[in-house]
């Protein structure tokens, strides 16, 4: 408090000083009609001018590239309809580096045609603009001039990892004039980022995966975290020249116990000519420690600048869950427009190196636990693959466009992150399964997918299913999605339902509700976001699913506890088949499961939106061609987003009526099963990894099959069902 008062005094003095010297002439106005305290008189509000005709006065010439802003160097008219990205076709004369090819491959999906492009991406590799490097592309300037839409870089995004070269490593020296292009560049400094225009990206290795990407390597949350080392660094140092001071002084911190700071000057051809008096000693210490060991056995990892501000170490530390301690003054951290790095990293000051041990020793175990988990979240959501880095860059640009919905810092910095929380779905966070308000009274919409068009008689499976759903305490609507060529049964033939449960029949192929090819029957129609679905929860059913009302009610109360997962009955498993080196799919009874089929499962309606709008067209194509596997794909999607397995409830495994002899059902078709196996492998390839996760447990009612009086039990009928 004392300090605060002192601050205030300083403030007042500063203020008065400014008036005295600054020449702002204050006039006293006695006619103010309101109560004023001493400070509020600092301005005469009745006579102050706020300015007029501002639109005609330009502060900077529009073509000044140093002062580019979205409002001066970007053509928004190209982006009016949609946010589309165009990648120039490859040139024969130059093959981009593997890194850049991986980057482009992620973009190809977005727009193969030029029409209506909002953003342009070069096919010429601009990642490495160090003239001394192998990947350096010559004659960039003339290559650019030849591009049909270059237009001095307008609406272009240029990805770059290295700029400048020895000896100065000038930051904005890309060795060509990038004009009005937006730079998505590594190692940017705060002073060079054009505000609200350029984007700082992380430096990544050549082996950085194009897609998927490994999860962070932190597998446990031990508390307190007791690692062998507190702080570690192992790397080269430059004896002379730009940026060398920082690493040259690190040895001061090395205590051979819990702080390991080892450097080497042994790199480059002529290191011996340049070496200083510490090099030999340093090299000796350097050889005693292994980089990977330090990374995984240290609580904090020092990330000092090298020649340039950023280093590979940053992402490596992030992945390893080793909290980065940044020693790189003025570095604009990757995506710092949207990521709050102070939740995952610690800033140190190059000028105050000796304070670093004291600073990190003062961090509480609680804070360390938080920082560490956040490194894993950020790594997993925005950095683990080139795809994520590119999509994060594009998402930041998209948010700047007119009428595009934006996401605030809470979405960006919490699990599951902004790339899978699509803002066009809703601008209200509680509409998403991750932030849902569990206290709300909610019901569910039952969506029954009718593909076979079986006749509806009073003991047919569909008739009974509708009956059982209708008697649920929580159902608010039944939707029949009629996807059969046969005509749907007229409304009065359906079983009688309670008044509060309306029944809608939708024929997507007739109504052309959404989708690309409206006339075709598509199995994905079961996942359309029909406007009739107004509850958060969807109970997805097949027409021949068998479930009792008790089972439906119980599964729903379980779903309310896990609204971000698929909760249901038919559990399936995937496994790695070593002999064939492929993924296998099984519907056999196993001790664990990783898939819950959508023939009898609850899930949040947001996943319908994600399924239709977010999944790669390649995945949709696989489903459309086989007219199969849509349920597996939904499981991939949800597990990818949540990084959690689905939830299986109670014993029931057989969720279909045994097909009567002679009747066709996809389930007794052997090809059907092989197809599903193929799907599994295709999906894993497109996702870039296997997102499915296993669970060892199922959830039953508390008194399930307990030898107590049946009258005590709430979900009594579930026990009659069996497996």
């Amino acid at each position: 408090m004392q300090a605060k008062r002192r601050y205030l005094l300083v403030f007042v003095v500063a203020f008065l000083t400014f008036w005295y010297f600054g020449g702002y002439h204050m006039r006293h106005d006695e006619e103010l009609l309101f109560d004023t305290d001493a400070l509020s008189e600092y301005v005469n509000i009745n006579i102050i001018q706020t300015g007029y005709l501002v639109r005609d006065t330009e502060r900077f010439p529009k073509d000044d590239r140093k002062h580019c802003r979205m409002e001066t160097c970007f053509d928004f008219s190209k982006c009016e309809k949609d946010f589309k990205v165009y990648v120039y076709p490859p040139e024969d004369s130059s093959v981009p580096s593997p890194s850049y090819l991986k980057l482009l491959n992620n973009l190809d999906i977005i727009l193969p045609i030029l029409k209506k492009a909002c953003i342009f991406v070069l096919n010429v590799d601009t990642l490495d603009r160090d003239r001394l490097s192998n990947d350096y592309v010559r004659n960039m300037q003339s290559r650019l001039q030849r591009l049909p839409h270059w237009n001095n870089g307008l609406n272009h995004v240029i990805f770059n990892l290295y700029s400048g070269t020895w000896p100065n490593y000038t930051e904005n020296d890309l060795d060509f004039d990038y004009g009005k292009a937006i730079l998505a560049k590594a190692s940017m400094s705060e002073n060079h980022v054009r505000a609200g225009f350029d984007i700082s990206i992380p430096l990544f290795h050549k082996i950085h995966p194009a897609k998927g990407g490994e999860q962070g390597s932190t597998s446990a949350n031990n508390f307190p975290l007791e690692k062998t080392y507190l702080l570690a660094f192992k790397g080269k140092r430059y004896v002379h020249g730009i940026g060398s001071d920082t690493r040259n002084s690190l040895y001061h911190l090395h205590n051979k116990k819990d702080i390991i700071m080892v450097t080497t000057c042994r790199h480059g051809k002529s290191w011996k000519d340049m070496k200083d008096e510490r090099c030999d000693e340093d090299n000796k210490e350097y050889d005693k420690y292994e980089y990977e060991t330090l990374l995984h056995n240290s609580t904090f990892c020092l990330v000092p600048r090298g020649r340039r501000l950023g280093s590979f170490r940053f992402l490596e530390a992030l992945q390893a869950g080793c909290i980065p301690v940044l020693l790189s003054n003025s570095w604009a951290l990757p995506f710092s427009q949207v990521i709050n790095w102070n939740k995952a990293a610690v800033w140190a000051d190059e000028r105050l190196l000796l304070q670093v041990p004291h600073v990190i020793r003062s961090m509480t175990p609680n804070k360390i636990l938080q920082l560490r988990q956040q490194t894993q979240i950020l790594w997993d959501r925005y950095f683990s693959s080139i795809e994520k880095i590119v999509f994060t860059t594009l998402e930041i640009i998209r948010e700047r466009l007119p009428k595009q919905p934006v996401q605030d810092g809470t979405v960006w910095n919490n699990f599951p992150g902004a790339l899978v929380t699509l803002p066009e779905f809703s601008d209200y966070d509680k509409d998403f399964p991750f932030y849902i308000d569990k206290n709300e009274n909610m019901g569910f919409t039952a969506v029954i997918y009718c593909q076979l068009g079986l006749p509806l008689v009073s003991n047919s499976p569909l008739y009974r299913l509708v009956n059982h759903v209708g008697r649920s305490k929580y159902v608010s609507k039944i939707l029949i999605v009629w996807s059969s060529e046969k005509r749907p049964v007229s409304k009065n033939r359906w079983p009688g339902l309670p008044l509060h449960v309306p029944l809608h029949i939708i024929q997507p192929s007739v109504n052309a509700n959404s989708g690309n090819e409206p006339t075709k029957m598509s199995i994905s129609q079961r996942f359309y976001n029909y406007k009739e679905i107004q509850t958060e929860a969807i109970l997805s059913l097949d027409e021949d699913t068998v479930l009792t009302t008790d089972e439906i009610d119980f599964a729903f109360i379980v779903w309310k506890q896990f609204p971000d997962r698929i909760v249901g009955y038919p559990g399936r498993s995937h496994y790695w088949d070593d002999s064939k080196s492929t993924w296998g799919y099984t519907s056999k009874w196993t001790n664990d499961y990783s898939i819950v089929l959508t023939g009898a499962a609850f899930y949040h309606r947001y996943y319908n939106h994600l399924y239709m709008e977010w999944l790669s067209p390649l995945l949709h194509k696989t489903v459309e061609q086989s007219q199969n596997c849509e349920d597996i794909l939904m499981n991939f999607l949800v597990s990818h987003v949540t990084r959690r397995p689905p939830v299986k409830v109670t014993q029931r495994k057989q969720y279909k009526e045994q097909a009567s002899a002679g009747a066709w059902s996809p389930w007794n078709d052997p090809d059907h099963f092989i197809q599903r196996q193929t799907c599994l492998n295709t999906f894993a390839a497109v996702f870039g990894y296997m997102p499915l996760l296993r669970s060892n447990l199922r959830l039953d009612p508390v008194l399930f099959k307990d030898p107590v009086s049946n009258k005590r039990k709430k979900y009594r009928r579930i026990e009659l069902v069996g497996s």
Partner: protein
């Protein structure tokens, strides 16, 4: 002065007509500027601090809550705006005349009065802003406009139409949470953008706006202190407040310390912590049984008997897992939750020395379940709480009901973090109560975890009976009755201490996937699952 180093210059209004410089026209050198007129061209990132232009009249329009019906959708009240802005706004007002209000100065100018631009109708200013959902702030020659603070005070959501303005405190405050940004050239999209904002979002933005204004903007003093806090956070970044602490309403802040969703690694295993007094015989049986659980790493025996020494290690059963015996300094129930250094795993199985009926499969399975829910209490003995309408108080319920809200720590898995939290952060009166009554430490732990995570515990398998059958006699029953009364008292006491009832009720338990299935037992991973 040293060329301004470590100096901070406050500046609300810089320059004057006709140039309106963005920066104080002084030779500031290396001094930091906290200014209201900064734009992205003059602003030095991570150095200068952008302030709101303080309006002395903003207080007049201040509101204390968000419960107001607002008749206008959007109001433009800035004086003397650029003709382009005005003409765009007028187009909207013709099209949506019931929702758009354009104000300017009246015939005789007085800042606290505004007139509707066509009809000339007079409005008290800034009070009129209380009747509008959104308020537009346009670029003037000055970057900082008084209208911004006036709108914020009136809980009118700011619509910022100022290209290149550095929003006040932009480096710590997330303006996206409570304002709308539209570029000057795209002012024509205004109504589309505003109409697209859902009512729920508007309500949310209003709540955030109220909180942010009250916390950082409501007086000149607060603005100065916010500035100094920001500089302090820069100087001591490791102690700096996080985004959440600055931007989120207290009720929005998630307190769950284990927030990264993951399945805990199996290889780490768990440590069994057994609190014991002198029941050596059953302790040894328990240790012997536990030692057969594959994932057990270590047994830690907490010896609470102050009069007697624990038996020498040589007398303990010879098992393949290490055993540590810790002799406590006082016979306190809280000792079972002390985060001893000897506990090296993140998972702890807390178990009473008389719980000897659990099979190895049951314990291993419970550990598997905990791995999938590492932030929850996962265990066997479950209880629930119910509201008693007769006594108007909470009641402890140990009957076998369809719902559970507590899992007792007589046989439960918990993350080691909770032991720390129990030892360091449990409200003092709760802790004293537990030690004084030698009871309810398990209920206290359930309160503590639920209060942080807002999640219910998870009961595993059918097991419900835990006391030895031969102990049942009439004497015990009456003791049980007294016990139940005291447990209910605990719940009510803890509700007062925590300021709310944090326990959550659920109607499910976790069983192995093939539990009770007609399937060869030897193919089941967990087949020895007992009943009741």
């Amino acid at each position: 002065w040293r060329n301004g180093e470590n100096h901070l210059i406050f500046n609300m209004v810089s320059g004057s007509s006709p140039d309106f410089s963005r920066f104080v026209e002084l030779h500031l050198g290396n001094a930091m500027v906290a200014g209201a007129d900064l734009d992205t061209y003059t602003f030095r990132e991570k150095f200068d601090i952008s302030l709101p232009a303080f309006s002395p009249v903003a207080k007049l329009g201040e509101v204390d809550n968000t419960f107001r019906d607002r008749s206008w959708l959007v109001t433009s009240s800035q004086l003397n705006i650029d003709p382009y802005f005005l003409s765009e706004m007028q187009k909207f007002s013709y099209q949506y005349h019931d929702s758009v209000l354009i104000l300017d100065s009246c015939h005789i100018h007085n800042y606290t009065q505004r007139c509707e631009i066509d009809s000339g109708q007079k409005y008290a200013y800034p009070q009129v802003l209380r009747d509008s959902i959104f308020c537009i702030i346009f670029r003037g020659e000055r970057m900082g406009q008084f209208v911004l603070l006036e709108a914020m005070a009136a809980n009118c959501i700011p619509v910022i139409v100022i290209d290149g303005h550095v929003m006040p405190f932009n480096n710590v405050i997330d303006w996206k949470r409570f304002s709308v940004f539209i570029m000057e050239d795209h002012l024509n999209t205004l109504m589309d953008v505003l109409h697209n904002i859902s009512d729920k979002r508007i309500r949310q933005m209003q709540n955030v706006l109220l909180f942010i204004y009250k916390s950082y903007f409501s007086s000149m003093e607060q603005i100065a202190l916010t500035t100094l806090d920001i500089i302090q956070d820069r100087v001591y970044p490791h102690l700096a407040r996080t985004y959440d602490e600055i931007n989120l309403l207290p009720k929005e802040i998630s307190k769950n310390p284990l927030f990264y969703p993951m399945t805990a690694p199996k290889s780490h295993g768990f440590t069994a912590v057994i609190l014991t007094y002198d029941r050596v015989e059953s302790l040894f049986i328990l240790i012997e049984r536990l030692s057969k659980v594959p994932s057990l790493m270590k047994v830690v025996v907490v010896w609470n008997n102050q009069k007697k020494n624990p038996p020498p290690l040589a007398d303990f059963p010879k098992v393949a897992k290490p055993i540590n015996v810790i002799k406590t300094k006082a016979n306190k129930l809280s000792n079972r939750f002390y985060p001893f250094r000897e506990i090296e795993t993140e998972a702890i199985l807390h178990i009473d020395d008389d719980i000897v009926m659990l099979t190895s499969d049951e314990v291993e399975f419970a550990y598997e379940v905990w791995r999938e829910f590492p932030d929850r209490i996962v265990g066997f003995p479950s209880r629930t709480h119910i509201w008693d309408n007769v006594t108007n108080a909470w009641k402890y319920e140990s009957e076998w009901t369809n719902a559970i809200s507590m899992v007792l720590t007589g046989a439960a898995f918990l993350h080691k973090y909770w032991s720390y939290l129990y030892t360091t952060d449990l409200p003092a009166d709760v802790k004293d109560w537990v030690d004084e009554h030698m009871n309810c430490e398990d209920i206290a732990m359930n309160f503590l975890v639920a209060n942080m995570t807002n999640k219910p515990p998870i009961k595993v398998t059918p097991r419900k009976k835990f006391k030895c059958p031969e102990c049942t006699n009439n004497e015990m029953l009456s003791a049980d009755l007294g016990h139940m009364v005291e447990r209910s008292q605990c719940i009510n006491k803890f509700v007062r201490a925590f300021g709310r009832m944090p326990l959550k009720t659920v109607e499910f338990r976790a069983d192995p996937v093939l539990f009770k299935d007609p399937f060869p037992e030897k193919l089941k991973r967990f087949n020895d699952i007992g009943s009741l």
